[in-house]
Amino acid sequence: MSLIQPASRSKSHQKSSARRTENDRIYANPLPIILIEPSQPSLLHKALGLLGVSVTQVLNPHCEGVLDVATRSVWVLNMKDAMVLWQRGFFGKGDLSRSEPSWLARQINARKQAKQGGMTSEEVTAKRRAERKQFKLDRAKAMAAAAAEAETAFQEGRVISTIYAPDGTRMIPSAATWKPNRAPETQPDKSASIAEESDDEDEEEPIENVEHLQLTLQEAFFLLWNLDCLSVSNTQTGDPLTLSQVWNAFQNAHVPSPKLVPSPEPPQHRCFDNPFLVNYVIYHHYRSLGWVVKSGIKFCVDYLLYKRGPIFAHAEFAIVVCPVYEDPADQESSPFNLQNASPFSWSWLSTINRVNSQVQKTLILSYVTIPARLRVSDAVLSSPACFAHYSIREVVLRRFIPARMRD
């Protein structure tokens, strides 16, 4: 929807509220599985209810994916599954899109726009960037001219304004006053010719979708382990992996190996600080609290937390995962060089805080304790039972501005 429409800024209020309702409907379910309560509970249901057992009908989409070790992700190739996972809980991202797998829709739209002589959103962006560049050039030129003018005046002992020219016009354009120069209008001709061309091949071939949905290992394990709504198969063999094979393969994916094939055998050395486990703990924690958890790489953090989902509002919080080794010796002997396992510099803090406050996000440092091997046996790591041995402590970070805190 929103994505595939050309960006025209003059949307009526009505239309946007209609879209909101539409989004509320499409993204109504926070999880891929849907629970349906029997509308008219039978006597049996009631009896079971008294026993503390509720019997709800479960709609399980049973999505399928394959593990790709090179990208450390699970690929969902079936578009129907992909859309279920995206629309119910915003799991995964399109490999050719920024978030929602919309490549096909964008292609179709581009073709349509080309026919009508309109512009795709990509073209709008390109045009805006070109204009911006031109504006900067014009401004630089105007500033140079103003400086030269002022310099001459200074040499002659006159005083002039560097902002207004003698005729009263503003010398240096600002983003608000600058207008693109509409001189060489090549655009219509070009699009007209394209339109003509495409008229010829009216029955063009349908575009084949080449995009798939990528799930991070954390997302995949969350869906698979908790909700049983995803199965993951081996890229090589095509066979579905059992839960314990997935458990092994996801941890092995972080161990450097020359072969990029899933290894479902138990890892040689199980480590509490395997990046898959550490990140899963954080991912699971915020998911269990009802947040939509997405990658934070574009804002140089580990995760972003959305209240309902990226469709509805901006991410409110930016999560930095900080592993804490209970026993520093484990850190020294670790094969993984986990980021932020030791306190980072103040300069880095102010960098990431500045980046995130620029986009109105609050920075959260999420400390995950990594159980000491001396205290907790490695054997615990053979199953997800190990998750109960980690713990999380959150620190909210904001700048403190004394001048605003005076009353």
């Binding site: 790489i297 140089c300 300069s347 102010s350 960098t351 620029q358």
Partner: protein, 329 residues
């Protein structure tokens, strides 16, 4: 301004300060060194935007200035000797002479004003002033606090505990043999005069840096007053700072922008910085992908490109890489 005389950097607690305003100017104009103003401006003491002396120098600036022979380090604490009795007597008599001259001038001025009907104060103003004076006289009686009305009750203790007040001093002196508590309030001058709290110590006869100056970092280090740079990271910062400085740039602290320095094409008073520079310890140091994201994003927001300045201690050279948002896709 001559550059021949090295500037004296006053070092205490491993920090280097400049107190002389002419030196502040000289550093900026001749040597492109800005430092950070770290003191309260006495006439604008309720804000943090404009600050005053001392000028606190970044350690990299100090290292550069000393290595280039442009400055000396002075052990400031030890350069403050105790004054001798005659020196102190002289200081007192000089001070008193200034006070007397001040009072004489004021008296002369008042007399003149009284004579000049045009410039005399309106009757109302005179009345007001009289009132004010009376009030002051009254409040001085019980305890000096001319501001006593403004002080919450418990703080009166502050005055009570100071047994230097008229009326109280006698009795307090009796029960307190403590020498420094028995001073009697100023009686010498009844009219107010202006006192200057001295800023720099150079006016003191007993301030003498000659035996406490160091022309090299090694000597200062040996004397225990200076120890920068000590770590590879600090050496890298000094190397990068020097290299940028030699290319004519001005530098300021860059911690708030995610780097070590802000790099200016000219005096920061008139030009914006173009780069945020971070010093990288060695060519082997790892660079995390998130750093590239952060610096790219930050640069776009602040119109500064990020400079990764890689210091090679063996070759004593810097390699620069800049990061900017490309805007693809």
């Amino acid at each position: 301004m001559s550059t021949s005389n090295p500037i004296l950097l006053r070092v205490s607690n491993k920090k280097a300060y400049v107190w002389d305003i002419d030196d502040v100017a000289k550093l900026r104009v001749c040597h492109h060194i800005c430092g950070v103003l770290a003191g309260t401006l006495p006439h604008l003491s309720q804000q943090n935007v404009f600050l005053g002396v001392p000028l606190l120098l970044m350690p990299e600036e100090v290292v550069l200035l000393v290595e280039k022979g442009l400055a000396l380090l002075v052990d400031d604490k030890n350069a403050h000797h105790d004054p001798s009795a005659p020196a102190l007597r002289k200081w007192d008599s000089d001070r008193l002479r200034v006070v007397e001259r001040q009072l004489a001038l004021a008296e002369e001025h008042e007399a003149k004003e009284a004579l000049n009907p045009d410039r005399a104060m309106s009757e109302k103003a005179i009345l007001k002033r009289k009132e004010r004076e009376e009030k002051r006289a009254r409040s001085v009686q019980p305890n000096t606090a001319e501001t006593s009305q403004e002080i919450p009750e418990e703080s009166l203790f502050a005055n009570d505990s100071v047994p230097n007040l008229e009326g109280h001093s006698e009795s307090l002196r009796a029960e307190s043999p403590h020498r420094s508590s028995v001073t009697v309030p100023p009686q010498t001058f009844t009219s107010p005069y202006t006192i200057q709290v001295p800023g720099a110590s150079s006016t003191f006869e007993w301030y003498d840096q000659s035996t406490h100056s160091f022309t090299t970092l090694a000597a200062a280090r040996e004397a225990g007053i200076w120890d920068y740079p000590a770590t590879p990271a600090e050496y890298a910062r000094c190397g990068v700072f020097r290299d940028l400085w030699e290319q004519g740039y001005f530098m300021g602290g860059g911690i708030k922008f995610g780097g070590e320095y802000l790099v200016y094409p000219g005096d920061p008073l008139r030009y914006h910085s173009h780069f945020v520079a971070s010093a990288i310890e060695s060519p082997e140091a790892a660079l995390r992908p998130l750093e590239i994201v952060a610096h790219g994003r930050l640069g776009t927001g602040t119109k500064k490109a990020h400079l990764l300045c890689e210091w090679d201690e063996d070759k004593e050279s810097v390699t620069y890489y800049s990061i900017e948002w490309a805007g693809f896709g």
